[in-house]
């Protein structure tokens, strides 16, 4: 097997270089002048102080593989390419505008293609990324099972028996927030404002449509309150971010094509996303499919329509409808990497929070440093993720906030776990959860601000959580 995968690798001076498709673009690599400005922004460098774990170090290694000075299959290279959280904080501070994300993803793709992995890892990755996330229905079913587990009393029994601990899943179990009662199924719910000014298409998989379905509904209500008719297009799937981060480019491209197809019916409407990680991935479909003649142009157009929910609300004509119900709470804001760095959205979430009467926003130290979640990083690199999580929890709790606000499901789960571990009592919410509360939640609908149209279609029907 090892021989087979290595066969197509370029050999330079006895060292194995890149081969096949998806090589790190030498032009993009060359843009790095190793000035070092990225170092302090990088979570793994901050924790380790070692330059291998810095963006410029990783770029230099990628360059070295291309130049035949480092073996592609050198364990140090693999280690660094996967130790990276791909939080892209480095991109935001790079004076030379290096596009780090696509480079590390390409390097991972090279490793995925050419490096044999132990069987259990392969199986886990296939099941996790390729099978479970591939199909929204499988995800909903899994989450429904999870909800059943949490609520049936089974969880208590299992926990008492120490099963999660024995399986090494204690943290994973603790990480799971209370699951929303009902999954949000595309095509089944629609929000229509009293006076529609525009329509938008809500992106809804995987975590946001299941575990955090109530947050997605909150987002829809807030959008509707501000004049947008909100549809949840049928046929959409996982954004593919996890596959991209893992270097599984073919899987990622399949998902991208599926989503492009699903959203084309909604014309030029903005595609509104509540998960920063998904938003960042959707905005990069153009790059992902640039070599696919059938989809390159469509992908570009699709990416141009994508808006994070705070970006969308921050740009509504005539300004945000002022929320009137006070939310008397001290909060602090944790910037999701894929919002702050990948999408460069930092002001809008804070503006939305500032608009809420009674709410006090206290900035934490290092609000833009990665919390350690980074997709599924916290599941595969526990020690580093925990250290980042502890640092984040410490900074967040130091503000005295009762609620830590963020805008990405992975961050929300990581924050929740880290805060519990630090012994803190703060809860974790999405920006739109609080905004929805300030608009009156469901009550705003009853007051006639908008109407929710529950036209249950059977086309995409797998039952939501069973109850």
């Amino acid at each position: 097997m090892a021989v087979a995968v290595e066969a197509d690798l370029v050999q330079i001076g006895g060292l194995r270089g890149y081969g096949g498709d998806d090589q790190p673009d030498p032009d993009l690599l060359r843009a790095c002048v190793h000035c070092g400005m990225c170092l302090p922004s990088c979570p793994t460098y901050r924790l380790t102080g070692q330059e291998m774990s810095s963006p410029r170090g990783r770029l230099w290694m990628m360059k070295a593989v291309g130049d035949g000075r480092l073996d592609l299959l050198d364990p140090a290279f693999d280690e660094q390419m996967y130790q990276c959280l791909n939080c892209r904080a480095c991109e935001a501070v790079c004076p030379s505008g290096v596009h780090y994300g696509p480079l590390v993803e390409a390097a991972r793709q090279q490793l995925e293609t050419h490096r044999p992995r132990p069987l259990p890892q392969r199986v886990a990755r296939r099941v996790g990324i390729a099978w479970l996330f591939r199909d929204a229905r499988r995800m909903r079913a899994a989450v429904a099972a999870l909800r059943f587990y949490q609520r049936s009393g089974l969880a208590a029994v299992v926990r008492r028996a120490g099963i999660p601990r024995r399986l090494g899943l204690a943290d994973l179990e603790a990480m799971m927030p209370p699951v929303s009662r009902r999954a949000l199924v595309p095509g089944e719910e629609r929000w229509v404002p009293a006076h529609p000014e525009r329509s938008v298409a809500l992106f809804n998989t995987c975590m946001m449509g299941t575990v955090f379905a109530d947050t997605n509904r909150a987002a829809a209500r807030v959008l509707a309150h501000n004049g947008s008719a909100v549809d949840v297009p049928v046929g959409q799937q996982c954004c593919g971010a996890l596959a991209v981060h893992a270097g599984m480019m073919d899987e990622a491209r399949d998902l991208a094509r599926t989503n492009i197809d699903a959203f084309e019916a909604s014309g030029d409407d903005h595609v509104v996303v509540t998960a920063a990680g998904c938003g960042a991935a959707l905005k990069e479909y153009g790059h992902l499919l640039k070599d696919d003649p059938a989809y390159a142009g469509r992908a570009e157009r699709f990416s141009a329509r994508v808006r994070d929910v705070s970006e969308e609300l921050g740009a509504v004509g005539g300004g945000l409808v002022p929320p009137t119900r006070p939310v008397r709470r001290r909060v602090t804001y944790q910037e999701p990497c894929h919002l702050a760095h990948a999408q460069r959205i930092t002001i809008q979430p804070r503006m939305l929070l500032a608009a809420i009467p009674g709410l006090e926003l206290v900035e934490m130290r290092e609000s833009s440093l990665c919390c350690g979640s980074a997709g599924i990083y916290n599941l595969i690199r526990r020690a580093m993720a925990d250290e980042l999580g502890d640092r984040k929890a410490g900074n967040a709790l130091a503000t005295g906030a009762e609620t830590v606000v963020t805008a990405n499901p992975g961050c929300a789960m990581q924050l929740r776990t880290s805060i519990r571990r630090a012994g803190g009592g703060a809860d974790v919410r999405h920006v739109v959860d609080l905004l929805d509360e300030a608009y009156g939640g469901e009550a705003a609908g009853r007051a006639g601000s908008w109407a929710c149209d529950r036209a249950r279609t059977k086309s995409d029907a797998v039952p939501a959580a069973a109850d």
């Binding site: 000035c35 170092l39 410029r56 480092l70």
Partner: protein
């Protein structure tokens, strides 16, 4: 000492997670922030990340036993090759020594480890009304230890002075492996001012393991003026008038048309796109004084032909005006894949003629050169844009740079080789343009007093071969003349 023994000995000091020796790991320590081509890369034998002065000292003693060079490294943002291990040996990276140990508001001092990031010290002390004044452009990333080694400057050193003016004392590991304090909290340490010798010594005399630095009280009020001019001469004239009027701004920065056209579309700082040059003038101090001085400076700029003058007092507005300046490098970096940042200083009165020469050199060598620099103290940073993939581009840039260097340090201009980047390896062979063999012999005397075995950061500052005896021309000349008084 073979590699295995060396690694084992080092691991015994800092633990296995503090020593790196695999080729892939060493690869990322073969450069610093300096430009490929101007500074050669070089790979160390091992990289050590100590967490205490005692560990640094122990590593130095092992290096002495193994007869290996020792190179201290901070964030590796330097632009003269100071942190590159030109002759191999052990890199001592101080990134894990990054604690702020003490802030004393009464004495206005901070005691920090060398790996503390410059800006983070100011961010830490600002809520209490103090800041660390040296503010090199890399302040978001560079470390205090590196600032000390390079005697770093920055836009605000016009008023506040450079790093050496803000260092009160240093805990240092000497090349013999001893830990000593130089200077300290109390004034008047007896004997020679070794602190002064250490600051700016480019890691050649000692490794800083703690720095006691001065904190500066934040000013009561700050005003930033943006003045636009039709051309560079007008802006230069305004600089002269401001200085002649007895005003000492906190910062006085100039940007030329090429810079403005790169910066404004990207950052919308409000620089007029049709301007030939803009000045950014920051005034700080007592509220009334700042207001009065601001009016005076605005009038002086108008008299010097400013086409527009804008004032900003609110922090957000000031930050926006500064953003353009601070991100200039970034904006320029996007115009071309590579850039080479020059760093010479000329007397203020020689700015116009020097800038004209920069323009000529740009044309002669066919290299776009943008000027964005510290006009207040004459520190030029011509920014040469190029693409290294183009055949001969690097050579052309280096030749143009050489041309400018010669011009700036010529007797007619009387400038300095480096204002804040240091000599390192980048300009070591140019140092004879400004210093004679005798001048260098005096500096070599200092080196020999601290580091007779030439262990710390070899191949820096002195011309190639000067210290190691491979090329004896300069030294022989000095020795022949001077009866062998300096014994190397």
């Amino acid at each position: 000492m073979d590699q295995t023994t060396l690694v084992a000995r080092l691991e015994a000091v800092v633990g296995p997670t503090g020593v790196f020796h695999r080729p892939a790991d060493l690869l990322v320590y073969e450069y610093d922030g300096s430009v490929d081509g101007a500074v050669d890369t070089a790979r160390p034998a091992a990289v050590v990340l100590p967490t205490s002065a005692e560990q640094v000292a122990a590593v130095v003693r092992i290096a002495n036993e193994a007869e290996l060079p020792v190179v201290a490294r901070g964030a590796g943002t330097g632009l003269s090759g100071g942190a590159v291990a030109q002759r191999g040996g052990i890199i001592v990276s101080l990134s894990r020594m990054d604690r702020i140990l003490d802030v004393d508001r009464d004495d206005r001092t901070a005691l920090v480890e060398p790996g503390v990031i410059n800006l983070e010290l100011s961010e830490h002390t600002l809520p209490g009304g103090h800041f660390f004044a040296p503010d090199p452009s890399s302040q978001k990333a560079c470390t205090i230890g590196g600032n000390v080694a390079e005697n770093a400057g920055g836009p605000h050193c016009l008023k506040y002075g450079v790093t050496t003016n803000h260092v009160l004392g240093l805990e240092v590991v000497l090349p013999d492996g001893r830990i000593v304090w130089l200077g300290g909290r109390a004034a008047h340490t007896p004997g020679y001012d070794l602190t002064a010798a250490l600051v700016g010594s480019e890691g050649m005399l000692g490794i800083v393991t703690k720095a006691l630095v001065r904190l500066t009280p934040a000013p009561e009020a700050t005003l930033v003026l943006l003045a636009a001019f039709g051309d560079i001469d007008g802006a230069s004239q305004a600089v002269s008038s401001v200085i002649a009027a007895g005003v000492l701004p906190a910062a006085l920065e100039m940007m030329d048309a090429l810079t403005i056209q790169a910066v404004e579309p990207a950052y919308h700082a409000g620089y007029p796109l049709d301007a030939g040059a803009v000045l950014l003038i920051e005034l700080d101090g007592a509220t009334d004084e700042v207001r009065e001085t601001g009016e005076e400076v605005a009038a002086l700029c108008a008299a010097a032909g400013a086409t527009a003058v804008r004032a900003a007092t609110a922090k957000a507005e000031r930050d926006l005006l500064w953003k353009g300046r601070k991100m200039a490098l970034a904006a320029m970096g996007r115009l071309a894949p590579n850039y080479y940042l020059h760093d010479t200083v000329v007397p203020r009165s020689k700015l116009p003629i020097t800038l004209r020469r920069v323009g000529e050199v740009a044309r002669e060598f066919d290299i776009p050169i943008a000027n964005v620099f510290h006009a207040g103290d004459g520190n030029l940073h011509p920014l040469m844009l190029f693409d290294r993939r183009e055949r001969g581009a690097v050579e052309r840039v280096l030749a143009a740079s050489n041309e400018l260097l010669h011009f700036c340090v010529s007797p007619e201009i009387g400038g300095a080789l480096s204002g804040e980047h240091g000599i390192g390896t980048e300009k070591r062979d140019h140092i004879t343009l400004v210093y004679t063999a005798d001048d260098l012999a005096a500096m070599a005397g200092v080196k020999n007093a601290f580091d007779p075995r030439l262990t710390f950061n070899p191949e820096k500052l002195f011309p190639k071969g000067y210290m190691c005896g491979e090329v004896r021309a300069l030294r022989a000349q000095a020795l022949a003349q001077k009866h062998g008084i300096y014994a190397f």
